[in-house]
Symmetry: C2
Subunit: 509 residues, 2 copies
Amino acid sequence: MAAEKNTHAAPTAKDMKDIVALCKRRGFIFAASDIYGGLNGFWDYGPLGVELKNNLRDRWWRDMVVTPPIGPDGQPIEIVGLDSAIIQNPKCWEASGHVGGFNDPMVDCKESKKRYRADHLIVLSPNDGQGPWLAFDKEASADEIAQRLKKHARGRPESDYTRGQLDKTPVADFPKIIGPDAKEPGTLTEPRQFNMMFHSYAGAAAGEENKVYLRPETCAGIFLNFKNVLDSSRVRVPFGIAQIGKAFRNEVTPRNFIFRSREFEQMELEWFCHQDDVPMWFDFWVEQRKKFWESVGLPLNHLHFYDTPKADLAHYSARTIDFEYQFPFSGDGFDELEGIAHRGNFDLTQHQEFSKAKLEYMDPTDNTKRYLPHVIEPSAGLSRGVLALLCEAYTPDPNRPSGVYLNFTPAMAPKKAAILPLTAKEEHAAPATNLYLELREDFAVDLDIKQNIGKRYARQDEIGTPFCFTIDDQTNADQTVTVRERNTMAQERISLDKVHEYLRVKMKA
Amino acid sequence: MAAEKNTHAAPTAKDMKDIVALCKRRGFIFAASDIYGGLNGFWDYGPLGVELKNNLRDRWWRDMVVTPPIGPDGQPIEIVGLDSAIIQNPKCWEASGHVGGFNDPMVDCKESKKRYRADHLIVLSPNDGQGPWLAFDKEASADEIAQRLKKHARGRPESDYTRGQLDKTPVADFPKIIGPDAKEPGTLTEPRQFNMMFHSYAGAAAGEENKVYLRPETCAGIFLNFKNVLDSSRVRVPFGIAQIGKAFRNEVTPRNFIFRSREFEQMELEWFCHQDDVPMWFDFWVEQRKKFWESVGLPLNHLHFYDTPKADLAHYSARTIDFEYQFPFSGDGFDELEGIAHRGNFDLTQHQEFSKAKLEYMDPTDNTKRYLPHVIEPSAGLSRGVLALLCEAYTPDPNRPSGVYLNFTPAMAPKKAAILPLTAKEEHAAPATNLYLELREDFAVDLDIKQNIGKRYARQDEIGTPFCFTIDDQTNADQTVTVRERNTMAQERISLDKVHEYLRVKMKA
């Protein structure tokens, strides 16, 4: 089943609304502090969401740390895990450049009191210079644009206008622009830089000397511990350090469900190697990461691999590839799921300079060779991965009562199977409970006793459970159960004592 | 091996120093931002620390969410998982009382510029009223006290003094007190309340309207989602919601390694039940939690169960029991590892009042019965659990090269086995690599190829690996390997093709 391709059409904005609603209705994802009206940019994972997220998290950790891949030389490579603190010494963020430079250009609208990222707004300027300029969110639909042209420009066609980006527009032209939620022109402020790191204070005084930051990415903790790991474990270059954890960014405009949130999770590997080996390892990791996403259920033809043009790369980087997924809100485009970057030895160089600690690696076969290793970083979003799995699995199907099912691979599904007694009567419920107790030792399974069987199947379809085992009168007569397969809804009877083996085989498929 | 009792003497402060040093040397725990001199109260988990922590985390999750215990009625109980955001709507912390009341009394010393928690200081006042009063840390040794009496009171015996607590001492007497690190009396300020929640700002303006807090405990997210969980899943009272995650407290004086840190992890269950059933479920959870800690390697005779006297309980609570462990820094006492509290329906009542959301539970068998369930909360420290496992496992042994080994249970050990070729030569390394590749599919194992075998055994002893498999010339001759058992250092030869089964059996022991 893992290899089955999802062939439904590309998801749409309408699907996105349905996905968000399903996530709340079935307990995948809730707005944080829902009963208090939520909090912009924060989300909670419900009973099924946390299982789905843990499945993806544990698969990544297993692939990286427990059974790391076989390297180009045929030998298993070395990767160790790490779990560093969210709050680190603030000097770390000076060294990394985040205190000085982790900024987004932000504009405010004096009329609507709303705030926008300048690089997320487009501007239509009239080719003949007549009439106002109009600013839109870059994701605005053709329909929204037409409506505003009707309102502010008597319905002139968009072809009368030139499209530009607000952050590339001279400030002198701002007085002509009508903001996305404004009626009058000239209400947008100049873009100003806004540091995206959340700050706090460690210690009683809320002064500059106690200022600390919530990490905006998990990789920093890896570079900080490069020397500690080398000194305490048996790894030698090339090797990797892997970390999964939360990061925080004070996004100006959180949006698109859990895609751009202020609190999120990352899965990051820093692969340390000699500069000469960068091209080989870069290709290696691109291939490995493709295999990973394919194995958890994202077909490669729904992904896009964006190779950043040389001219746009940072000076220390030879290459960066973004893995992008066709989210329902991506329109005709794609949005980032993972980035694989060659970071040179920029981070170790900076930390060596700022901390004065010696971070050079000594080649154990030649102690005259000392160098700062180069780094290849496959940096994946765990929260974004969960969203991609949900979007990919979402399969409308008018031919079943639920109208939709989630086509998760068995390994990613929050529940591998549901055990459903046909009725709540003892003769059905007791053997069902016994089967549940046997299966749960090895698989995450659900026991659901009450309600009519159709409704219970519908629920399992909506939460993406690949198999349902039903216990009925015949079970007591001949020790068989019905197994119902999620995608095909096909049912067959199998022997009660074969259920465990049946599930074991299906999980490996 | 899991059932073996650790019989070494109670650990001492000296042991604590050794444990901290071993944790750094072998890659369990490092000071956060070590190369920048650290950051008070923050710690990073290294390659082995993260595996140990994950083992404890996953065992708790499994026991709670995947295979929850059988209830008093013989049926499996229902518990679902959750993962809520660290940052929630600030109104949540008004409702819970944390904004108003989550305070520690704090004093500053004008001379030493140090800060203390008033409830952590004791004061010796002379019975005859002659001479200065002396303040000490409550953990000060008899030796330290004698030394300061020698210095400030010409060596008068402690029996000439009355011992009191600083936070119970009238402020009018403060001018007589010499602070713990001061030379002159009268340098301690009045205690003032200090809110222990870290705050930050969500959104661009750092004003009161954007103020948010880092959660000081994970349970709040559970209460916030009580209704969402009921509405989206099939659970019915009694049931539980379990969560593992980070929490933050701006401790005035972080201390004792990872025991009292500013960033830490909790494992919390909120068990919702009818008020009438509180005594039954309270006893149930106390028993379950005892079994848990015993199963991961803490013998019950190293734990202390503190039943809070009625008079000291909050008004809404019928009972609270603290599980305390004899940490090396606990002296003759114990320090808290887990608390099991009856919280009444205080939290749901508060959130219902502040949010105006209806949180009452309707009994499905009688819809005239509506009530706010009572809560029993087993709240365990994950970071503290890791520390307890490390302290318990720490076993000095002068009869082995490492001088010490870590006596983890196989299930908690970061590495279950090490595969060690006798030499790095191909005829040893190749079969060792093959064995490693076979075993790692089912167990966390280490392959360590270079260095003399004695040093490699010593390393595995220090990191607590229960079994080492050594591949030598005889392996190629008769397909056997040497297995060395950590605690006894006994060696025996077993067949290469029996190694997997050997390990599987030992893991279940």
